[in-house]
Structure formats: C-alpha cells, structure tokens
C-alpha cells in the first residue's frame, strides 16, 4: 500500500469553474499554506513578523490578525511536513503553530462588483476609505464565518472553514449571479 496514490482533494464543488462574469470573478486558491499562529494575548504582530523573517523568509510574511495574539499566516508555496515541523520547533515557546492548510480554504473574489457582492453578506464596511489593501476581518458572510482580506482595490481573499466551503461557494455564486 506504500504506493497507493494520494490526492489532495479540493473541497469546492466545481474548483475549475471560476464563475467569471463581466464584473465579478470567483477563483479558489489551490496551492499554498494556511498556518494558525497562537501567541499569548500580549504578543504583537511585529514580533511574529520578525520571527518569520528569521525562521522562514522563503514563505513570506503575509500574516492576518484573527484575534489578540492569533494570526493566520498564509502563503502561496506548498510546505512539506518536514519543513513545517522545523518551523514549529523554531517558533515553539512564544508561538504555537497549527497547520490549517486543509481546514481553512481560500477563495479570491475580484471585479468591480466584488464589494457589492460582499455587502450582501458582511456588515463590515469594505469601502476603500474604510478598508485598506491588506486589511483583514474575521466576520460572517451570511450565516458562514469567514476572514476577508482586501488584496487589491477590487479584489478580496476569503478564508473559510473547509466544511463550509461548498456552501459559501454556492452563496457567492448566487450573490454574484446578477452581475454575470
């Protein structure tokens, strides 16, 4: 059984259908990692960024605050089990690191209507002057919890629990349908 083929299965119902429209585009992010980093409540983001820069500069320092002392550290490269263990060991003490690459999935919603679509779900004010590029919020889109990060003017990345990914995908499709 050592050679049994192992596939990393995508949780989105139609991972290859992008749901593209004139003003809206929905694309799952298939590669990369999501790490949940847990410091104590007093640890600050700067300390984490410095630690990352020192320990794993190759993974980039894209950290998104989830809670006091807690972040999602995301990146677009795949990280091996071995490398993950090294990073965990190196961070240990000040930071605990939980791999959430399989538990939390990423979707990018972009296009001129992306903010209008998200306003159908979240109360967070995503207008440009209130919500800068790089800003993140743990919030709810309808009944589903998600983290929203503005990655460009008209582009948002959503992180959602794997078990809810299908439902969120369908809901976003519904919310975006009028713009297709």
């Amino acid at each position: 059984m050592r050679d049994y083929p192992l596939n990393n299965r995508c949780a989105f119902p139609h991972p290859d259908a992008s749901g593209a429209g004139a003003s809206i585009n929905l694309v799952p992010v298939k590669d990369g990692f999501v790490f949940h980093v847990l410091g104590d409540a007093k640890t600050d983001e700067e300390a984490l960024k410095q630690a990352i820069a020192k320990i794993a500069p190759e993974l980039g320092g894209d950290v998104r605050k989830a809670s006091p002392g807690q972040w999602f550290w995301v990146g677009s490269v795949d990280v091996s089990d071995g490398r993950l263990a090294e990073i965990q060991a190196a961070l240990s003490g000040q930071f605990a690191l939980v791999d959430q690459t399989h538990g939390r999935l990423r979707i990018v919603l972009s296009g001129t209507s992306s903010r209008t679509v998200l306003a159908k779900g979240t109360m967070v004010d995503l207008s440009a002057d209130q919500y800068a590029i790089g800003q993140s919020a743990m919030t709810q889109i309808g009944h589903i919890g998600a983290m929203i990060t503005r990655i460009e003017d008209d582009s948002f990345e959503l992180i959602v629990l794997r078990s809810f990914a299908g439902s969120l995908w369908d809901e976003l499709q519904h919310m975006a349908a009028e713009f297709h």
Partner: protein
C-alpha cells in the same frame, strides 16, 4: 448597543456575530468557598433596570469574550472591554 457592538479588537460588528451569555455574576468563588457562595454565583442575578455588565462572546469574529456595560432600558452601551481584564485589570 444591541444591534451593533464595538468589539475592542474588531471594531463595529452586528449582533449576529455575537453570542450573549448573560450577567457578569459575582466572581467565581474560591475552591473552598461554601455551597451558599457558589449558589449565589451560579444562580442569583442583580438583573438591574439600567446599567448592566454582561458577557458577550464574539463567536463570529475574534472569538474573544467581552464584557459590555450596557443599559437594559435604553440599550446604550457605555463600555466594551475584553473579559480577561476583569481579572487581570490590564489590557488583553
């Protein structure tokens, strides 16, 4: 503030993102305290008309427990703090 809560960590958020637990009771008694003290802690409430301190959990956001000082007649909230400050007295 019963439609929106200004989470000290996340900013203004809708009630839908929160789970309310109820009145901040007497502090959890010491292990050796009398049963009557525990009974008071677990069951009795001031339940005032007016200023009220209560636990709200930002379950749909940062997942921190907050303490709101909120008026039960007007629904106005005068203060929101991280609940850990009840015991530590400092910022969370």
């Amino acid at each position: 503030m019963s439609s929106l809560v200004k989470c000290p960590h996340c900013g203004l958020r809708p009630k839908e993102e929160f789970t309310v637990r109820g009145e901040v009771a007497t502090p959890r008694p010491d292990a050796g305290a009398e049963e009557a003290v525990w009974f008071d802690h677990v069951y009795l409430r001031d339940n005032p008309r007016g200023e009220h301190r209560e636990y709200w959990h930002h379950s749909g956001g940062c997942r921190r427990w907050l303490v709101l000082t909120r008026n039960t007649l007007t629904h106005e909230t005068s203060e929101v703090v991280d609940a850990s400050t009840l015991k530590t007295g400092g910022a969370a």
